[in-house]
């Protein structure tokens, strides 16, 4: 069974008197353990797609199944629960809570999941160590560099052991070297079995993924295996 199954998804918005059709019937499957890049120019429906995949939004029509549950018919609270359990977000501008420490930021999804304090702390620490920030746990975001902030965000995304990690332009606010480091971390996470979806408009970033889905005008324009990345990944493993 596919991890993600989209069937005939449409999404339209009312913009004043006009109706904008952001997605016009998208059908696709993503399997567990895949590393997918979602590409497209602005206005292609990329952001809408990312919001739907992240369960932040629901489609106007069509069905969306995630890990066996029918997300397209869920209400606000059910969506919050699904996001908490199944999705780990990594955003372009990190989206960390500025007044909380790295550790507390990473703990937060577990707070909402109702995990007891002790267990929660251990899981959060493990997750931070996992992204190489074992010595920065009690720093606040403004005491960390951009790359470190993004690592905190990745630790937060993974702490709940979600079905997919959804990254929206994860290197957009980073210099190219730090960006490359983050992408290498993604590669590593993928090798360890995480399902990753990266939304980007940069070919360099998309190159890391094993499958590239290109959107244009609200439709899937191309969906292909990324052969170029294969040998590199093979070489490492």
């Amino acid at each position: 069974m596919s991890l993600i199954r989209l069937q005939n998804i449409t999404r339209s918005y009312e913009m004043g008197a006009e109706t904008v059709h952001a997605l016009c019937g998208v059908t696709l499957d993503i399997q567990r353990g895949e590393y997918v890049a979602l590409m497209g120019p602005s206005g292609s429906g990329k952001s809408t797609m990312m919001n739907l995949l992240g369960c932040l939004d629901t489609p106007s029509s069509g069905t969306f199944e995630l890990n066996g549950s029918l997300v397209s018919k869920m209400d606000d609270n059910q969506l919050a629960e699904i996001r908490n359990r199944e999705i780990g977000f990594v955003f372009q501008s990190f989206h960390l809570l500025p007044r909380s420490t790295a550790l507390h930021n990473v703990e937060l999804p577990l707070v909402y999941a109702g995990i007891p304090t002790e267990e929660r702390r251990e899981l959060a620490k493990a997750s931070l160590r996992h992204v190489g920030l074992g010595d920065r746990m009690l720093h606040k975001p403004n005491e960390l560099s951009g790359g470190q902030r993004q690592r905190v965000a990745i630790a937060r995304a993974l702490v709940n052991n979600p079905a997919i990690m959804l990254a929206d332009e994860p290197t957009g606010n980073l210099d190219s070297r730090t960006g490359e480091e983050i992408m290498l971390l993604f590669d590593e996470l993928h090798r360890k079995g995480n399902t990753i979806i990266v939304v980007t408009h940069e070919e360099d970033i998309a190159r890391h993924a094993r499958r590239i889905i290109r959107l244009r005008d609200g439709l899937v324009a191309a969906d292909e295996k990324n052969v170029r990345s294969m040998p590199r990944a093979m070489a490492v493993s």
């Binding site: 919001n51 992240g54 932040l56 939004d57 606000d76 609270n77 919050a80 629960e81 996001r83 908490n84 359990r85 977000f89 955003f91 989206h95 960390l96 809570l97 007044r99 909380s100 937060l108 999804p109 707070v111 909402y112 999941a113 109702g114 007891p116 304090t117 937060r156 709940n160």
Partner: protein, 406 residues
């Protein structure tokens, strides 16, 4: 478990948010402080006035009926009652002979006069003419000496008993007993000084001079209008006794059946009922008016919470994205508003309790545990009520839009 966790998380966030905007939170808290101070002060003043009044009225005696010409609290057209005949001393004697359900009858009347001794004087002192039993009927006690005796009353002796304040004024440095005091040019020997009474709005007997009623009729008013105090035999049957007294009075007055009473029989319950009726609505009005300041404080909270929500839109978006439900966000902002109000309530109570310590003792204004509990409850409620709309707005935010905001 999960709720407690969310509660704790909410408290942590609230504390961080308050600390992050100290000045803003401080000004908002000030509004609540003012509201709580005024409301608790008013509440304790009302409570204090109530207790003093009840104690003062209690001095009337639960088992004593007062026969008067014009009863209080019964508004009537003055032209209907102004021609009422006086209550005379004869009625008191007749009452003593005829009534079966009473144990004591005491006439009491007064006038105002100046009092002199050596080079000191006081004007407008209430000179009360009465009999020796007044002392028993009202449970008066003396701090020095004694009340006058029945033989002194019967013999019309020029003796007097002083109220506590009068005694203080004229006999600051010497013993009053056996000394003479001059009332309207007549010398009275002081035989006793009353113990200080409970004062309430000028009630109480501290500024009185008691003389035998026989002296009063001889020297001041020959045929005075008196108040007759009647102590009933059995407190349980005070209604029956009251009816008997009323019947005797009607007979003495020669009132035909069907004619209304042209006198009043009052009892301390009348005062207590009047107070609970008028006092109750006055208290409500006073609390309502002071409550307005708390309302204004609440509007301040609402305002600040709207700002706080708008400012933290992105934070709300982040929290929602990683799994916070509507309920969680709602709770978070409600806790923040309630925490601000609770801090204000605690500060307000501290201020109010120090002010009540400075208030005059006679007001008996104290912060009772009840008022403290109500004040804290009201401040939390203010926070929850005024924080609800902003918190609801936050809870209903769409995560996609919230995340996009800067």
């Amino acid at each position: 478990m999960r709720f407690l966790d969310e509660l704790r998380e909410g408290l942590v966030i609230a504390w961080a948010a308050i600390r992050a905007n100290k000045l803003r939170a401080g000004l908002t808290i000030l509004g609540v402080v003012i509201g709580i101070v005024t409301v608790t002060l008013m509440g304790s003043a009302i409570q204090g006035i109530g207790t003093s009044f009840q104690r003062a009225v209690g001095q009337m005696g639960a088992d004593v009926l007062y026969i008067v010409k014009f009863p209080p609290f019964e508004p009537q057209e003055w032209w209907k009652v102004r021609n009422r005949r006086d209550i005379t001393l004869n009625y008191a004697r007749a009452m003593e002979r005829q009534a079966t359900q009473i144990q004591m009858v005491v006439p009491e009347t007064f006038t105002e006069s100046s009092v002199k001794r050596n080079n000191r004087s006081a004007s407008g002192v209430r000179i009360v003419g009465t009999t020796e039993s007044n002392f028993l009927i009202r449970n008066f006690s003396t701090s020095k000496g004694r009340f006058f005796s029945s033989s002194e009353v019967d013999g019309g002796r020029p003796v007097c008993v002083l109220g506590a304040d009068i005694a203080d004024k004229f006999f600051k440095y010497e013993a009053p007993l056996g000394q003479k005091i001059w009332v309207a040019g007549i010398g009275y020997e002081v035989v006793g000084v009353m113990a200080a009474s409970d004062k309430f709005l000028g009630m109480g007997s501290d500024n009185h001079v008691f003389i035998p009623i026989t002296q009063f009729t001889a020297r001041f008013v020959n045929q005075p209008d008196v108040t007759i105090l009647v102590k009933v035999r059995d407190l349980e049957k005070i209604e029956d006794a009251s009816e008997e007294v009323r019947g005797i009075m009607r007979k003495l007055r020669g009132l035909a059946p069907g004619k209304p009473d042209d006198f009043g029989i009052i009892h301390q319950d009348v005062f207590l009922k009047f107070f609970s009726r008028v006092g109750g609505s006055l208290a409500m009005a006073a609390l309502f008016i002071t409550g307005l300041s708390l309302f204004v404080g609440g509007i301040g909270i609402m305002n600040i919470m709207f700002v706080s929500v708008a400012e933290r839109t992105r934070e709300i978006g982040i929290r929602k994205a990683i799994g916070a439900k509507r309920r969680t966000i709602l709770l978070q902002f409600l806790i923040e508003a309630a925490a601000i109000c609770l801090i204000g309530g605690l500060i307000g109570l501290a201020i109010a309790s120090s002010i009540t310590l400075l208030m005059p003792k006679s007001l008996e204004a104290r912060l009772s545990p009840g008022i403290v509990a109500i004040a804290l409850g009201v401040s939390i409620l203010t926070g929850v009520v005024s924080g609800f709309l902003p918190a609801w707005r936050a809870a209903r935010m769409n995560p996609v839009d919230a995340l996009r905001s800067e």
